[in-house]
């Protein structure tokens, strides 16, 4: 089996490492980082716009470049999460929770380096797993029906509680706001319109990107202005490669040595499942990290592990999402759906036969992902001083630029003025949430996951004739159901046990 993998990879490298392949891989990775940097301009739109540029190329080279845009955007997307608290897509929301506080503590350099390393680690572990396991994983993804999706989304929703900050009550309110906004749009079961107020632009629901940019980006700006940050002179952060301040400390590496592995593993599994893989992966990665930590109170206040876990996870997930795409022809996200469109345009039909009919294409693509991740980590680290320079700019000048970027970003998605208003209103709400200690992350993630949970639950309900028996009759569902139950019940049981133990000790002490 190892010999087979080696021969497959050398076939792939002969395609990917050709001068032409390498050149377009670098172009793709670079464009991906740029695309990731612009809030609102995600990989799906980036790939779609650039498809016409690839018409003169050989199909494999073209797809290598487009795939570079896809996973490259995961590297770029986090940079805005860390520097200006504005996640460009739902998969990098979890990275703001500790990433932005790190930058505020003056550790922007180490945070950016660490996110590049975590991205590289996650991405590479993901590709290694694809190389070794792709065929058997495809069958795993194919066994996921509505009931399994609902249960895994429910696990993700439960994990949200770890991201809500210290005040759980306010956290729940934040999530409920997200669920409420998620009900806008056409009801998938009856086709009835809900809360669209006759506006055709709301039929498809409230698009989370405008909400996320508003809640995080605009909300944060308003809050900083409210605190008077714009009146303070800019802090001079002179950072170069020679500074010790630029690199993560030994402690950072040592503390997160297992975080890399956990995040990558969780992210990859989540990515293999079509749906919101990278988002779920980053949430679950973050929560697990916080749960296993001996010092969970440090999370949310600028803890390196809280950044490494979701970053390793979302990059491993973007690699994992290639498994159902290549082996089943099933796109797991908007970006992979556009990639699927590009495959078809080149006459490549993703499905179980792709790897048999076009081995050079499949292995060329996989090999290019190894190289692509190496190019991206080098590019990210070299570019960091540039990005960090941005923090030198006096805040009073930064505010209008970011507001402009956010508004252009929100408008450009669909050229929709309604979405631009949604951004503005979300910005005001985001400010209030920040001011009074609510959790914008919980709101955005509940918005993304809530409508998916509703759909898959109702589908399962119809299939099992309204009995819900589907959730424990199917083997995979049963396993997930037990996991779900234990997440809810175990902590309760443990608390009760502790209490009775304490009570008994109390009695014996008293006696």
């Amino acid at each position: 089996m190892l010999a087979e993998i080696a021969s497959n990879l050398s076939l792939g490298l002969s395609v990917a490492a050709s001068p032409e392949g390498f050149l377009f891989l670098v172009i793709g990775a670079f464009l991906g980082m740029i695309v990731g940097l612009f809030p609102g301009f995600g990989p799906a739109a980036g790939i779609a716009v650039l498809i016409p540029m690839t018409f003169g190329l050989q199909p494999t080279i073209a797809i290598i470049m487009l795939a570079g845009i896809y996973y490259g955007s995961m590297y770029g997307g986090t940079i805005t999460s860390i520097l200006i608290n504005t996640p460009g897509e739902s998969a990098t929301v979890a990275s703001t929770i500790d990433g932005y506080p790190l930058a505020q503590k003056g550790r922007a350099g180490p945070a950016l380096v660490m996110q590049a390393i975590a991205s590289f680690f996650g991405g590479t572990v993901g590709v290694v797993l694809i190389t070794a396991l792709a065929p058997s994983l495809a069958n795993f993804a194919a066994s996921f029906g509505p009931s399994e999706y609902f249960l895994i989304i429910a696990v993700g929703l439960l994990m949200l509680t770890t991201m809500m900050g210290d005040n759980k009550f306010k956290g729940f309110i934040s999530a409920l706001i997200g669920f409420a906004v998620g009900t806008v749009g056409v009801d998938v079961m009856s086709g009835q319109q809900r809360f669209t107020f006759g506006s055709p632009e709301l039929i498809g629901g409230v698009y989370f990107v405008a909400v996320a940019i508003g809640l995080f980006g605009i909300g944060e700006l308003l809050h900083c202005v409210f605190k008077g940050q714009h009146r303070q002179p800019a802090k001079r952060l002179r950072i170069s490669f020679r500074d010790k301040e630029f690199w993560p400390s030994k402690e950072d590496y040592y503390q997160s040595r297992w975080t890399f592995w956990r995040g990558s593993g969780i992210g990859f599994i989540a990515g293999v499942l079509p749906g919101s893989g990278a988002t779920l992966g980053s949430i679950i990665g973050y929560s697990v990290e916080k749960k296993v930590a001996k010092d969970p109170e440090k999370f949310g206040k600028g803890e390196m592990r809280g950044l490494v876990a979701p970053e390793a996870a979302n990059n491993a997930a973007s690699a994992g999402a290639m498994v159902p795409l290549l082996s089943l022809g099933i796109p797991g996200s908007g970006a992979t759906a556009v990639l699927l469109g590009a495959f078809l345009m080149w006459g490549l039909q993703p499905g179980p036969l792709l790897i048999v009919n076009d081995p050079e294409f499949v292995w060329g693509l996989i090999a290019s992902m190894y190289l692509g991740n190496m190019i991206l980590i080098a590019m990210s680290i070299f570019a960091i001083p540039l990005f960090v320079k941005f923090l030198d700019v006096p805040y009073v000048n930064v505010v209008p630029v970011i507001v402009l970027l956010c508004i252009i970003g929100a408008f450009a998605i669909n050229a929709s003025i309604i979405e631009t208003w949604i951004l503005v209103v979300s910005g005001l709400i985001g400010f209030a949430m920040k001011r009074y200690g609510y959790s914008p992350a919980a709101t955005v993630l509940a918005l993304v996951l809530g409508s998916m949970a509703e759909e898959t639950f109702l589908q399962s309900y119809i299939i099992s004739q309204g009995t819900m028996s589907l959730f424990w009759e199917r083997p995979v569902s049963l396993v997930l159901f037990i996991v779900l139950l234990s997440i809810v019940v175990l902590p309760l049981v443990l608390t009760l046990l502790n209490r009775s133990k304490n009570a008994r000790e109390g009695v014996s002490n008293g006696a």
């Binding site: 632009e201 079509p274 179980p352 589908q459």
Partner: protein, 322 residues
């Protein structure tokens, strides 16, 4: 997107410059920049068809001026089609139709219907396959019908009131069976709902299941067009099997209302050239569509008939009121 904006600006600047230099006079049609609006996001079926048409127009120099392509996504086509319908009288606006062009005005409160557009041509029709797992007990449609008569069957399709549901309902009506319809959001989850054994069958667009059909993990029982598809010639149509219905969706091109007849004629003639090209034939083959083109007013009649058939089904299943 940013690139598109700047292109638009450049083109607008060029247009201003040209109108300033040339005094207003009755010019030959077409003489200006053309805007091709896609009412859906990049990468989808409508987007692929529209961009194929534009690429052919450019490659063979069939259109003398610049062509700008823009995606105006939102509300299952409601936003983009509403935008084009609002350009009545502008002969430099084109858009592509697909299932939602008929379906969305029926289920949602839009300010337009198919009648608010000038029909140019139906370039291809997009029909649906009834698909089951290869290892299931359903060897053919009759076996499926028998199972439905003996017990309960579930059929999944994209969306609650989309063309998949209409196809499934027309089939059930023709076969005299009942079934439970499971609406599923996207193509990928639709396929795994079937492969995971959650549902008995799915109604799907041929391109959504092509990979699985080639590999033999899924099996197509019947095709909803009136003639067999060139891509799956072994799959019989429902009509051949004695289930008397056919349903397909228009992949066509329309323009805003209130145009000079000359503009309509020019585009009918031009698109007739487009569908002759090898690139168009390749597009049809890759996407599993059949090309039985219909032009001008015949296309309008076809749109009216399809809309009525769609509407009847939606009323029957209770998705819309009379």
């Amino acid at each position: 997107m940013i690139m598109r904006r700047s292109l638009t600006l450049l083109a607008a600047a060029a247009a201003v410059a040209s109108t300033m230099s040339i005094p207003a006079q009755a010019e030959e049609y077409p003489s200006e920049r053309l805007t091709y609006t896609i009412a859906f996001g990049p990468g989808g079926g409508n987007d692929r068809m529209s961009r194929t048409v534009v690429d052919i127009l450019r490659k063979y120099d069939l259109y003398p001026g610049n062509i700008v392509v823009e995606n105006r996504e939102g509300g299952s086509g409601a936003v983009g089609f509403s935008y084009v319908a609002g350009k009545a009288g502008d002969p430099y606006r084109l858009t592509s139709t697909s299932g939602n062009f008929i379906g969305t005005p029926l289920v949602a409160d839009t300010n337009w219907t198919y009648a608010d557009f000038t029909p140019i041509g139906l370039l291809a029709s997009d029909a649906m396959l009834l698909v089951v797992r290869s290892d299931s007990d359903f060897g053919d449609v009759d076996a499926f019908v028998d199972a439905a008569k003996a017990g309960r069957v579930t059929i999944a399709g994209s969306g609650s009131a989309g063309p998949e549901r209409v196809t499934a309902s027309l089939f059930a009506q023709a076969a005299g069976i009942e079934f439970e319809y499971v609406p599923i959001g996207s193509g990928g989850e639709l396929v795994t709902a079937l492969t995971s054994g959650s549902v008995d069958a799915v109604v799907a667009n041929p391109s959504e299941v092509a990979g699985q059909l080639d590999a033999g993990t899924l099996k197509a029982l019947a095709f909803s067009d009136s003639a067999r598809s060139t891509n799956n010639p072994d799959v019989p149509t429902f009509m051949e099997l004695g289930y008397d219905f056919s349903f397909s969706l228009p992949r066509g091109v329309v323009m805003p209302n209130d145009l000079e007849p000359a503009a309509q004629d020019w585009w009918v003639a031009t698109l007739k050239k487009v569908i002759e090209t090898p690139e168009w034939q390749e597009y049809l083959a890759k996407n599993g569509m059949s090309g039985n083109p219909i032009w001008g007013e015949d296309f309008a009649t076809y749109l009216a008939a399809t809309s009525a058939q769609y509407r009847d089904t939606l009323v029957k299943i209770g998705a819309i009121q009379q």
